[in-house]
Symmetry: C2
Subunit: 374 residues, 2 copies
């Protein structure tokens, strides 16, 4: 299968030849400096299928972990949101001083009924030293991978040792990614699935058929959590929901709460939060968007990066309930973009776009236009 | 000349055919919903050369003017800047409630010495109702056009009636665009050029040779401003410079100050500001970045949009000195993107990128990946 937006190699060769040939009578073509690698959805799928989703999430988790370790070096700007009655469009920039990245992401709950995606995303990685973009990438698929990689990374620090069974309540777009990331990174061998829509569960069962996981379809949340050491909640309704009630959560459980990720959208009963040790990405954002929006603003939480650096402890007892209240943070997108950038050469699944004007004489932008007339 | 990133028409046809054919055994290709038009630098140059730079700036000025008229409807977020020792990377988002746009732009003063552009830019236009990006465009060339269109638009409201001669101090990348925009929109017939580097002036003289303008090379700023009704300052040094001193500016002049556009970078002597009526785009931004960073924060200024709507007067006397202290604002980029978007069908100079995942079943992102294996 050939990528629809693939630049034929011959075009690149021609470009180089025309640049290099002083006798060239054709208009100048963009120099290498002006070209920005672009990873389309199609090419992102090739990258995933070349490397393998599980391996890719495990490798990406290493990038996410490395960036959490240098958390204090990051420029942690709050996301910039444009709200409307239909939804929100957000820009999520961050930088580690060497690279700069941002993600564009929308959230429009009514989209699905109109035949559009609820969430779409793309992102850009740039060099801080000269400000040049070095990669443009789709991020709808990539965000699914980085979210699962982050969840599994957190669970490796927080879940009970030897966890083998994960309950998954909500079997939508994120479900299979979570299952495979936990299989690869945490070592689970069984997933227990429940969704209010049996079709969603059937889809997940079908997609995980060859994963090597033991996959159990359950008819209720209560059934799903039975015997699970890890409970992942990942439902889509935008409301204050109670996916888990207090009596469903026994001691020694790790809860990976993914679905509560914007104001007015939560999944856990408040009493569970009060019994848990709560771990978050970036408190100022999680207090607005996460499960802890139900709690007092001074309720104690632990920042995940401090667990990863060893500055503070993760799980301290067998009976403890640990809760990763995850809303997604800009550094995780940055790590994911860094990872994909490092795969460009390895996989070759990208095209180059001339996004940046590169006149021979930077003061002669107008002359570049005139010469392009040919 | 064929665009390097041009998608062959046959690929699009093939895509449509493969989508439409239920017997198709090939992996699914992106649907129309997933495709985002992209205007490369190369295609932007074609658009400019198809429409003509002058006509394009005049038409774009109408979009800029229309958006200034509905200024109060805009979501005017301050730009989001990531500063480093080498420069700055900024995101400039805005929305009128129907469309959303943002520009990515860097500013790295040391770039030119290292063979890079000081400023590069690209932007995205999106629909507010579903959050989908509808166009990605280069904005290095486009910003040059919108800056000159904005200057000329402001001058139409502020410059003395019947202005025929413009002095241009600083003959860099913006110079020719300013000259042509003022010719087309304001009606000037003579430009008087000066730059500390005679090569820059020579370049501008050469590029304007067929413009129909009378072009005069001058050997000093004093000589350039002689007999001019409009003075445009557009120099590049990042410092508190004094391109114009007080004695050089007589009564009845309009000053179009472009170059003072970030903290620590100004062009005019403070005394000129104190004698002028000052017009700005967005005061909170101009007080930090514009010439008026030299003045008290409560020094009176007039917002350009109020002049355009007629809420307040522009030039009120023949002897008045009017100063447009321009730093560039997000709404102008938004107007420019809207304009280019409206030219896509007219010119056909774009390619489509699959930036947005569009699975048949939005909950089955993982299945889309698996099916792509083919």
């Amino acid at each position: 299968m050939q990528s629809a937006t693939r630049l034929p190699d011959s075009a690149l060769d021609e470009m180089t030849a025309r640049k290099a040939n002083p006798m060239n009578k054709l208009p100048p073509l963009p120099s290498k400096l002006a070209m920005v690698p672009f990873v389309s959805v199609d090419n992102m799928m090739r990258i995933v299928n070349t490397i393998g989703a599980r391996k890719m999430m495990a490798e990406m988790a290493q990038y996410i972990e490395a960036d959490f370790r240098k958390w204090e070096e990051f420029d942690k700007t709050p996301r910039v949101a444009a709200h409307s009655k239909e939804g929100v469009i957000e820009l999520m920039p961050t930088s580690d001083g060497e690279m700069y990245g941002f993600k564009y992401v929308n959230g429009h709950p009514a989209n699905m009924a109109r035949g559009f995606q609820t969430v779409t995303a793309f992102g850009v990685l740039a060099r801080v030293d000269n400000g040049y973009p070095i990669m443009l990438s789709e991020m709808t698929v990539l965000t699914a991978l980085r979210t699962a990689a982050t969840s599994a990374l957190a669970a490796r620090y927080l879940a009970p040792k030897g966890s083998r069974t994960m309950a998954m309540i909500g079997n939508g777009a994120q479900c299979e990614f979570q299952a495979l990331a936990f299989q690869e990174i945490v070592g689970i061998d069984t997933v227990r699935l429940y969704d209010i829509d049996p079709k969603a569960t059937q889809k997940a069962v079908r997609n995980l058929a060859e994963s090597g996981l033991s996959v159990v379809s359950c008819s209720s949340s209560e059934e799903a959590v039975t015997g699970a050491q890890i409970v992942t909640t990942c439902t889509a309704d935008k409301q204050y929901a109670t996916i888990l009630t207090d009596n469903m959560v026994g001691p020694g459980i790790h809860i990976n709460a993914i679905g509560g990720d914007c104001p007015g959208k939560t999944e856990l009963h408040k009493d569970i939060l009060l019994r848990s040790n709560i771990f978050v990405e970036y408190p100022p954002q999680t207090r607005i968007e996460g499960e802890i929006q139900q709690l007092n603003p001074d309720h104690p939480v632990t920042e995940l990066w401090q667990v990863i650096t060893g500055a503070t402890q993760g799980r301290i007892s067998v009976d403890q309930i640990t809760l990763f209240d995850s809303v997604g943070f800009a550094t995780e997108d940055f790590s994911a973009l860094r990872y994909v950038y490092d795969q460009l050469e390895r996989t070759g699944h990208f095209v180059e776009l001339d996004m940046i004007a590169d006149p021979d004489d930077p003061r002669d932008l107008f002359g570049m236009l005139q010469r392009a007339k040919g």
